[in-house]
Symmetry: C2
Subunit: 326 residues, 2 copies
């Protein structure tokens, strides 16, 4: 069966790293049909729309989407795209690779970030000249769905359970509902959990990342804390992510458009290639996915390396080296 | 003129570190009148109330309050106490001390955290069995007041300006109002600012904390990001804070009650003693404040040290050493 893969490079280095990841996929799975589409600052400049309807529709119908990055329009592109695939969880591994300089080389975490609500579902109002409000939304149903996913996730891989990160001492009703619902589902599945306040998590993960493994959290907490973990592993350049929905999914590196190096052909393609490995796994190609992970890991360890990792190789060099090692 | 200082040790190690800080103040400023009051888990167990009205009233009338820590009732104690002093900014320095093991020894940051609104002003509702909401509030007036304080702050000390940290790409109206208002005030004062998304800040501060100095942010962002900075400097044990209001203020270590070591007399008093130094500065005793800062720094560098810093000294030993060095 041929899978349709939407490919949306976007802006900046998205234009360089996305084709690199497609090359890797092509080297493995010729039964993918790739369909290209536009999104981001450049297409907005041309057409007035950062996310053309065709692109949205394509993501909403393809089996999986590979997205690169968008510039100033990032929120206008990525949030609707997550909706297009009806993504309810954003899976964000943050692992320090051997050979890569990391603040905390022991870091090996996976964030399972709620992907539909919290402040992101926020309805905003300017009530008066002085007062603005945002309505943060937390539902039992979204918390349950995330928790079911988390329970499957820790069962599939070899994890002891997960940590529920929240701020229910202040957001008592909303994060209380989140925490209690997630805990309830985990208890039903016999999955162990612990509960950590998001501020305490921020301190503790710096001091000793090994005390955490899988972290389940609301949308904004996941945004900030996974970026914190990115800092601990040496930057956003290596972080992949998967936006999983019931029938389709969207894969993207966590990094942005890197305008300072865009167009020079030296962007590190690792995060996007690992995102492609997550895509393979999502579509059931577990063995191919493992091969990509291993090839990236070997290449990060032994080179060639792009300038962000202290090397002088090009995106093409690194991509070729990864394909060589598949 | 005699200043009235409310002393609220609270629970756990609050009972040990708060008297230590009072000892330091007594060694310096005999014209303080200290008035003790209760708050926290223990008083709740006795009386049903975590924050007795007398304690609230005392904080609301004293010139300054020194607070230790509270256990499970922390939010019920500290949030009303911040209100009692009408605090509009929480000043949180996060500095790595020489001689203390830190993830990022170059860290030297000050967070100026909005202290009245955001999700903390949140009205919560359980709309249906499924749906809960929280109304996050951001006002122009609170943002302005914080920005005025920030401008004074960077002018007084030797700072180049400040960073405005926000998430206005998602919370466009509310954090947009925050960002634009703070920027507007800074521009009027000729204070330089830059703007950083809170997720990007989390990554960047790990990779290179020296790129930041003074950080101005909404309430929850300040909570999480200052705790992140605490992780970078080696833990909460050394972080002081000041909740500043127009006419009075509340000083507290950022750490909690540390139930694992409470009662053993080995809690590190440094964070509370530095909070007391901030109290001295607030009341105009700049020279005395400097002496406390210097004495703490010298003691952290040369010992004696409490067990959290690898030593085996008691709270009393460390306090005595600090007083010796005043
Ligand atoms: C661009 C922005 C809307 C987005 C988010 O906040 O989710 C980004 O920070 C991310 O984490 O993918
Ligand atoms: C106890 C809690 C309500 C409080 C906060 O969130 O402000 C604490 O985390 C802090 O930072 O002082």
């Amino acid at each position: 069966m041929t899978h349709e893969i939407a490919v949306i490079p976007g802006d900046g280095i998205g234009q360089e790293v996305t084709p690199a990841a497609v090359e890797v996929l092509e080297a493995l799975e010729p039964e993918f049909e790739f369909v290209d589409a536009d999104a981001g600052d450049a297409v907005k400049e041309e057409t007035g729309e950062a996310l053309p309807q065709e692109t949205y529709d394509l993501a909403a119908s393809a089996d999986a989407t590979l997205f690169g990055a968008a510039g100033n329009t990032a929120a206008d592109v990525i949030l609707p795209l997550r909706e297009a695939v009806e993504s309810f969880v954003n899976v964000r591994p943050a692992k320090a690779y051997p050979g890569v300089d990391a603040v905390r080389p022991e870091t090996d975490l996976v964030f399972l970030r709620e992907n539909t609500e919290g402040v992101y579902a926020g309805h905003e109002d300017r009530l008066t000249q002085d007062v603005s409000t945002l309505t943060r939304v937390v539902t039992e149903s979204a918390s349950e769905r995330l928790a079911e996913f988390a329970c499957d996730y820790v069962a599939g891989d070899d994890h002891d359970g997960f940590s529920i990160v929240h701020k229910a001492n202040v957001m008592r009703e909303t994060d209380g509902l989140f925490r209690d619902t997630v805990k309830g589902v985990a208890d039903e599945h016999g999955v162990e959990t612990d509960q950590v306040l998001m501020d305490a998590f921020a301190t503790r993960v710096c001091l000793d990342p090994e005390q955490f493994d899988v972290v389940v959290c609301p949308n904004l907490a996941g945004d900030v804390l996974s970026d914190l973990a990115a800092g601990l592993v040496g930057g956003l350049g290596l972080l992949p992510s998967a936006n999983i929905g019931p029938d389709r999914a969207l894969f993207e590196p966590v990094h942005g458009t890197a305008p300072d190096i865009a167009g020079e052909g030296v962007a590190n393609p690792a995060a996007t290639i690992v995102s492609a490995a997550m895509l393979l796994e999502y579509l059931g190609y577990d063995e191919a996915s493992d091969r990509v992970h291993d090839a990236v890991e070997a290449t990060l360890a032994d080179g060639p390396r792009t300038p962000d990792l202290g090397g002088d190789a090009s995106t093409e060099d690194v991509t070729a080296a990864i394909i060589d090692r598949l």
